[in-house]
């Protein structure tokens, strides 16, 4: 395929020279204007005292904003909440998605029904899920979830979304319900691309179903699994919609998140610089998660 390297490059006609420019320019312009520039602005703003409507002159304040947010108990609580959300969501949602993927890949009549059932919530905007689950979490004995608790004799009526301990787990439940289906489909594709002869030889070696799962399925699923874990962890740190709709960060900061803090700072207190610093901290976390994920990918490719 050495001939392919020259391609259109050796042609001197205008079209061949201009075409790459024409084809990449719109996307490149869009990315630079709507992602690159605001990203640079976020970093720039974070070193200033920019606050809309403030009488103070614009000043370079160095790392002051970072010192301020890291010294703020609320912001630290937001970081911890995000980490808590991720620590629960990532294993729970990944395991459920894996179990569902294995199940709907199975040979039974309900397979396509189950696949659709698990996937449909993924089509729902989180805002819609949040609003609908508010009724499911309705406080008092008439709330559906409280009624279920009473029927099972499991729990006394509670106000899930206004309970400092239960508010965050309540957000986790609806998030898993909405998000699991998409992960399931990604893992399902991974399952279906595992070569059948691997199972064949494992079976000849006398491996049982569990042994085949742990020695063939899981290692073969490594890349899709890493992808799912990284995406879920990133979503956990982007947590905003559910919080804004259901709890507004409360009670007592129990469900506040980095993004919720940033948006509140920017839009209710006009603290643009402070919000920008929070965005940068958020971005650093995102980069760290992504880097870990990419490393996990690379290792696998090295072995294979």
């Amino acid at each position: 395929m050495a001939a392919g390297a020259g391609r259109w490059g050796d042609r001197t006609t205008g079209s061949a020279r201009v075409a790459p420019l024409l084809m990449t320019a719109p996307a490149l312009a869009g990315l630079l204007v709507f992602v690159g520039l605001p990203f640079v602005l976020a970093i720039g703003f974070s070193f200033t005292n920019l606050r809309l409507g403030s009488p103070l002159p614009l000043e370079w304040v160095g790392l002051d904003q970072y010192a301020r947010i890291l010294g703020s108990a609320t912001f630290r609580r937001a970081l911890i909440n995000n980490a808590y959300f991720a620590a629960v969501i990532v294993p729970v949602q990944t395991c459920l998605a894996l179990a569902a993927a294995v199940a709907v890949n199975g040979d039974h009549r309900g397979r396509s029904f189950a696949r659709a059932a698990f996937f449909i919530p993924a089509l729902f905007p989180m805002a819609m899920v949040g609003v609908a689950w508010e009724l499911i979490y309705a406080p008092g004995p008439e709330g559906p979830l409280n009624a279920l608790g009473a029927a099972l004799g499991a729990w006394a009526p509670r106000d899930f979304l206004r309970d400092p301990v239960l508010a965050m787990p309540s957000l986790m439940v609806l998030s898993v319900w909405q998000g699991m289906g998409l992960q399931m489909v990604i893992l399902l594709a991974g399952l279906q691309s595992i070569p059948e002869d691997l199972y064949e030889s494992a079976r000849l070696d006398g491996a049982g179903p569990w042994s085949r799962f742990f020695h063939v399925t899981l290692p073969q699923l490594r890349n899709p699994l890493v992808f799912v874990v990284v995406v879920t962890a990133l979503l956990a740190f982007r947590l905003f919609d559910q919080v804004q709709i259901l709890t507004r960060g409360g009670p007592a900061d129990a469900t506040t998140t980095v993004m919720y803090q940033a948006v509140t700072a920017a839009f209710t207190r006009q603290q643009v610089a402070l919000a920008s610093a929070m965005s940068v901290v958020f971005f650093v976390v995102v980069v760290a998660i992504t880097a870990l994920g990419r490393r996990a990918f690379r290792q696998e490719q090295g072995v294979a």
């Binding site: 390297a5 259109w8 790459p20 996307a27 490149l28 609908a132 893992l187 804004q244 940068v280 995102v286």
Partner: protein, 282 residues
């Protein structure tokens, strides 16, 4: 297909279909609850929420649906979402596929730089730039407009990357033939590559649509009126609108997701295949 079945049979051993079907039914319960609530009088929604009747519409009526159309500009809000999503998805297909193709197949000065920019920006989520982007778009006069909800999402590093990976695997022989016929890169792309890349376009369409259809934070920041507001923001605003009538809210919820669910049920195989490629393609 049959190999998948064989494999799963071995994997699962005796795990009965009953258990899986039961789990699926359990997973659907919130949807059944939403549907039932949307079909019964507002006064009964909470009153019947604590028993099995919560999952039964009783004497179903479409009154709540009529009320939503009456109390809100549902049609307009739905149309807004359609316009915004067509803009994002349609514009994105054109712009990102061209860029992905140029990066995968053309050799030009700056190619490595452009690819590098795409890979770097792949990691920047909207949330990290939302605040400065808001001020930037405000300066450009984008508050409460369609374009401010479309343009920032058209060029998408992830879509470019997906197209780039797809086109790397596109059979070169097909392009070769076009080149011998004297077609330039752009013509080759439009006449040969695009018509033969259906799955790639379908996949990016589905993934972009799923992401843009649910956008909430950005419209919350940038819009203030019903004229341009999309569905996710519409339902959140409707929820806060007195009087609180859960039947109406659930009817709104059903109406906003029903078209998507129907589309999914019809095109299920495309959906699954489309999303699948994202996790496997690297």
């Amino acid at each position: 297909m049959s190999s998948g079945r064989l494999r799963a049979r071995r994997l699962l051993g005796g795990l009965p279909a009953v258990v899986i079907t039961a789990a699926a039914v359990l997973w659907l319960l919130p949807i059944v609850f939403i549907l039932a609530a949307s079909l019964k009088p507002d006064s009964l929604v909470l009153a019947e929420a604590s028993g099995w009747r919560a999952l039964w519409p009783g004497r179903p009526s479409l009154q709540n649906y009529a009320d939503v159309l009456d109390r809100t500009a549902f049609g307009r809000i739905f149309l807004n979402s359609v316009i915004i999503n067509i803009g994002i998805v349609g514009g994105g297909l054109v712009v990102n596929s061209m860029a992905g193709y140029a990066l995968a197949r053309l050799r030009f000065r700056g190619r490595a730089l452009v690819l590098g920019i795409v890979l770097v920006l792949l990691v920047v989520p909207l949330e990290a730039i939302a605040v400065p982007l808001f001020y930037q778009v405000t300066v450009l006069g984008g508050r409460d407009t369609y374009w401010a909800q479309i343009l920032p999402f058209v060029a998408n590093a992830f879509s470019i990357y997906l197209f780039y990976s797809f086109f790397l695997g596109f059979p070169k022989e097909l392009e070769e033939a076009a080149r011998i016929d004297g077609a330039g890169p752009l013509r080759t792309f439009v006449e040969i590559v695009v018509p033969n890349s259906g799955p790639a376009f379908a996949s990016v369409t589905i993934v972009t649509f799923l992401l843009s259809w649910g956008l909430y934070l950005w419209p919350l920041m940038i819009t203030s009126s019903t004229h341009v507001r999309p569905l996710p923001l519409g339902i959140a605003v409707f929820r806060t609108l007195p009087p609180l009538q859960w039947g109406d809210i659930m009817a709104f919820a059903v109406m906003m997701v029903a078209p998507g669910v129907l589309l999914f049920l019809v095109l299920q195989r495309w959906f699954v295949a489309g999303i699948a490629t994202v996790g496997v393609k690297r």
